[in-house]
């Protein structure tokens, strides 16, 4: 590798990318550098994004939360963030270890497009919009438009993810994941459940059980109808049925982290529990 460029503004970063197709973006490096250290990635030139001010942090814009692509997981530990985006804050707290959360970013999680990316089920459940920019302009994509398969995105080489927009919470939210140990674990299965008390809708995103991010739409519709929105209660058997429908939306595989059968089972159990916790 012959060079690393360290721009400080987004315009500068986009101009550098447009001019050099062999320039690879690097944020926290927690996916990128593991591949480099394994010899699985040999970058020709690197665009280090840590110093680009526009990509950092998050802000509240009315009833929308605008999260910079370079926002680190540790920044999502802010209590004000947890109030506005409880499930995303929960997911962020489970990612890696403090050292990983101090540098790892949401933009890196999206661009890596691993089925096990823990922010993805939450962003799906929330109907997040991802803003992508190049010198040609910007476009906005849903997470399942951005990510089309295992480690596959529609990003062009000259594009950067700049921000993610999610609605500020209007009801209870839960994120759950399961893996082989408690600490620093890549999810074998994960789920996010988001209730909107004003729109009377339920969002349910699944993690690690599909190649590309999906919502469990049958489970969502069922729960939205079964919930009494004025009291946030639901009749007997609602959460069990929700769990079954969520598990039906999973298309998991057997791999080194788990089996398809266990993953589907875990989704059913976690979906039920997550909805139970959301209801009063």
């Amino acid at each position: 590798m012959s060079n690393v460029v360290v721009p400080t503004t987004l315009d500068e970063a986009l101009a550098l990318l447009a001019a050099d197709p062999q320039l690879s973006p690097l944020a926290g490096g927690t996916d990128f550098m593991v591949e480099v250290n394994h010899g699985a990635r040999r970058p020709v030139r690197v665009l280090a994004l840590r110093a680009v001010a526009e990509l950092r942090g998050w802000r509240r814009d009315g009833d929308v939360l605008v999260i910079g692509a370079g926002c680190t997981y540790v920044s999502m530990a802010d209590p004000a963030f947890a109030v506005a985006a409880p499930a995303l804050a929960q997911a962020a707290r489970t990612i890696g270890s403090p050292q990983i959360r101090n540098v790892g970013t949401i933009g890196g999680n999206l661009a890596t497009a691993s089925p096990a990316g823990d922010t993805l089920p939450v962003l799906m459940a929330l109907g997040a919009r991802v803003e992508v920019a190049s010198t040609e302009g910007t476009r906005t994509l849903a997470v399942d438009e951005l990510i089309t398969g295992v480690k596959r995105t529609v990003l062009h080489p000259a594009e950067l993810i700049t921000s993610v927009r999610i609605p500020v919470a209007r009801g209870p939210q839960e994120f759950c994941k399961i893996g082989t140990r408690n600490a620093m674990v890549i999810s074998a299965a994960g789920i996010a459940v988001v209730l909107d008390r004003e729109a009377h809708t339920v969002g349910c995103g699944l993690g690690s059980v599909t190649a590309a991010p999906v919502r469990a739409t049958d489970a969502e519709t069922f729960a939205a109808e079964a919930i009494d929105w004025s009291t946030l209660r639901a009749g007997a058997g609602t959460t069990e049925r929700f769990g079954t429908l969520a598990a039906d939306a999973a298309t998991p595989i057997d791999d080194h982290r788990s089996t398809a059968a266990y993953r589907r089972h875990a989704i059913g159990v976690m979906a039920r529990r997550a909805l139970e916790r959301c209801l009063s």
């Binding site: 690097l26 490096g29 690197v46």
Partner: protein, 169 residues
């Protein structure tokens, strides 16, 4: 930061300036050099260990602007302008940092390989969360693996350094 061609013809090098353990260091570094290798091989700060190639073990933990990070996960050129603390920067005039003293007193190490990273992670942890309790310390050190101690004495040491009594949930 400035890029230039290496006088020995090895390729491009870049100027990196960082405060390392309170001292400003400027060096010509090849862009491919990891922070941990720069610290160990160029600056001679061999207290920072390398224990894995998957960013999992935490042996290479240093503080970047006061926060723990894995030095195997960053190129040295990325820390241009930052303030870096390694294990060598904790003791002042030969007097151990309270965290080092607590590790010593609580026998929180056996082979010692994980210790520098463990101590750096613990310093960052109690700086951020002064009131952790036993479980908080265990969760907070999840990024650091120790194959010898069973962690028990490490938890004692961190709580002692934080001035906390052991609490059981």
């Amino acid at each position: 930061m400035r890029a230039s061609t290496d006088p020995h013809g090895k390729g491009v090098t870049m100027d990196v300036t960082a405060i390392v353990n309170g001292v400003e260091r400027t060096a010509d570094v090849e862009p491919r050099v990891l922070l941990v290798h720069w610290l160990r091989d160029e600056l001679g700060l061999t207290g920072t260990n390398v224990g894995c190639d998957t960013s999992s073990c935490g042996a290479c933990t240093v503080l970047i602007d006061g926060r723990s990070a894995k030095a195997c996960n960053l190129f040295a050129v990325q820390v241009d302008g930052s303030d870096i603390t390694t294990i060598e920067g904790l003791a002042i005039d030969g007097e151990l940092h309270p965290m080092q003293q607590a590790f010593h007193e609580c026998h929180a190490l056996q082979c010692g390989y994980c210790t520098p990273g463990m101590v750096m992670a613990a310093v960052s942890l109690i700086d951020e969360y002064p009131d952790l309790g036993d479980r908080g310390v265990r969760v907070g050190l999840e990024g650091n693996l120790c194959r010898c101690t069973g962690y028990q004495n490490i938890v004692h040491a961190v709580l002692q350094a934080a001035g906390e009594q052991e609490r059981h949930p």
